[in-house]
Symmetry: C2
Subunit: 396 residues, 2 copies
């Protein structure tokens, strides 16, 4: 049998991160490439207790079909929680529970994009989302990053120049992969620019709760009085990624179309996980849990920082980061980045080449991404030492 | 803000079943419209025990990110189980775990279809799948059903006539909604016809284990020596639909593309549920559980049959069915089916109008679908009595 694949999949490549993740679980490999939460960040005791109670007291609810929109008590709680904590969500907004935040990217794209339409995104940006957009044959247009977020000048140029722009994709907090946080003033201006051009904003905030330095900034969605922003939230980094529970908070008119698309994709998300997330938020001390997470990641980030200061300087530089799970590191001109990443993998230290995060992987890039949440402290120290030594060897 | 939706969603309507399901959970409504497993069909005790053990002994595995292909032990077990039990799966086949079987329909369509390509399907067929195909702007071409499965003559005509046919979608066992089971001889001929025309077969088998009369027939996939058939299986009707665990068994070349598409949709399926399904199949007496299910549904089907014999004859006729969850009932010519369904809903008895299952909802149809797994015995008897009375009233 000869298979005739669709045009959209002919051009797709497996995610470089997923491919690397497969090998990075081999024995002896130091995994600085993944984005897994630290294993000690999961609220084991609470999930164990909540799950036992749920399967004892309301087993039918936990095992039967449910509605596509998501578990109603979770949707209601999120609505009030996000309003109180972040000041987001208006009367014309609605919440949809998804199978991880990745599905928000998928459903919004399915809802808005015709083949060939344009998505503006930060350059670099999260490869998983870029691949989702590509799977709908989006034309990706990268907006270069600056120290305080994407370039407003380049954004404005792109909004004026590009045809059929459907949305801007942005991760304002501790961006993946750059670690950059968008300034308050830029958030406001990004909102105004997109609004004025009739272009939606897809605001992806998986790491917002993982700030360990400085003050929280309001989401772009907090400025949204006119239904411009669709906000994507996730329980993956704060409760459990294996549960696959995320959510979209955005204009009801858009959410309703996304619900129809979700019906056709997976009917609804795993209901046990949705109920556990709801009960964890409402019956446990959720804010204390977030504090504990921030402390875990602050400590791990300091292990990384100390190792980088010892082994990277002066050859390899890195962006300052105030939260999240990643450091973005840049090699000097005399070192070929792809060769460096390949040789590191041969020495069993896995990092992700920066090119994986570009809209055009063939563009030049001297950076790579280091994750500090997955490895143990010892792996982190050893991995950075290996990378530092390798850089010195390759610099000659 | 004015939203510009994609062409694909502009034409989509919410699933009639889902919409009816929402109202059918209102107090006092008799739900003959859903497709929920009977609440006493869930293996509560086993899931409770397996979940407690899992969260105690391997909590990281149950809560951390996992691979897109699915939980490896479940994939391996399914491969040998399906080979032994149904004789399906060759060296060039592969298994992908999905978020319910609905995602198999979605991923295969995404992998094969360009907009405007044709999908052949049984007429009538499962509305959820038809809507998934529609969401990729498939051209649906219905093949009429006969008592022993789809019309071979019409299938052959369509294969010769239609352009860009990517696959035939069929539910060979206790088809939803007609209840019809495809004969062995037709299974063989359907395979040969599609193979000879280079058209894949998407074989959807959610109800195969729920046969309560007669002998099991081999899946179409059992004839597949050349990678023509992609088989969709599901734990929704035999373990729990709320868990959202299904799987595809098909040609590796196709599955690999589906994996890439799944990465972009939801990264992977809820891992707790995948592990529970694996342990339930391997650590509990799975075959005894299936026997118990068949007994539950055989008994409930007899409650329905007795009520139909008492209240439907001679006005309303129904297809014989040997398994599954549905009866397909047909009104006499003098009764308007849509009016009948509407008036039944006013009397708080919900059934699904047959038109919902057609490729073209505006075609004439005198049938409606009755589900016997969701209602209690009392609701079933009362619901059928109301429908019978209504038919007599409307027949005048």
């Amino acid at each position: 049998m000869i298979y005739q694949f669709s045009e959209r999949v002919k051009s797709l490549k497996p995610s470089a991160i997923r491919e690397i993740l497969k090998n990075s679980s081999a024995p002896g490999v130091i995994p600085l490439s993944a984005g897994n939460p630290a294993p000690d960040a999961f609220p084991y005791e609470e999930i164990r207790r909540l799950s036992a109670e749920l399967l004892e007291r309301a087993p039918v609810e936990a095992l039967q079909y449910s509605v596509t929109e998501g578990y109603a008590p979770l949707r209601e709680h999120l609505r009030s929680y996000m309003k109180e904590k972040h000041g987001i969500g208006t009367e014309s907004d609605e919440i949809l529970i998804t199978s991880g935040a990745q599905q928000v990217m998928d459903l919004l794209t399915k809802t808005l994009l015709n083949e060939g339409d344009t998505v503006l995104c930060e350059a670099p940006s999260f490869i998983g989302s870029l691949n989702t957009f590509r799977s709908y044959r989006a034309r990706l247009c990268g907006i270069p990053m600056e120290e305080d977020g994407l370039s407003l000048e380049k954004l404005e140029e792109a909004l004026k120049r590009e045809k059929n722009v459907k949305y801007l994709y942005t991760i304002p907090n501790f961006q993946n992969p750059s670690g950059i946080t968008m300034s308050l003033e830029k958030r406001r201006r990004v909102y105004e620019l997109c609004r004025d051009h009739g272009v939606m904003i897809l605001e992806d905030n998986p790491y917002g709760d993982l700030r360990f330095v400085g003050e929280d900034l309001p989401p772009i969605k907090a400025f949204d009085t006119e239904g411009v922003v669709l906000y994507a939230g996730s329980f993956s980094k704060v409760v459990s990624p294996g549960m696959r529970v995320g959510y979209a908070l955005g204009p009801r008119e858009v959410i309703q179309k996304m619900v129809v698309c979700k019906q056709g994709e997976d009917v609804h998300s795993n209901i046990w996980a949705q109920i556990i997330c709801h009960r964890f938020m409402t019956e446990c001390d959720y804010e204390a849990h977030l504090c504990r997470l921030r402390e875990i990641y602050r400590r791990k980030s300091e292990v990384l920082r100390a190792a980088m200061e010892q082994h990277f300087q002066p050859l390899i530089s890195w962006n300052e980061f105030q939260g999240g799970l990643f450091a973005w590191c840049t090699l000097p001109e005399q070192i070929d980045m792809l060769e460096f990443v390949k040789r590191a993998a041969e020495e069993k230290v896995c990092v992700v080449p920066g090119t994986a995060f570009l809209t055009d992987e063939s563009e030049p890039c001297r950076s790579f991404r280091v994750n500090f949440s997955t490895p143990t402290d010892e792996q982190l120290a050893e991995g950075i030492e290996v990378l530092g030594r390798l850089a010195r060897e390759m610099a000659g």
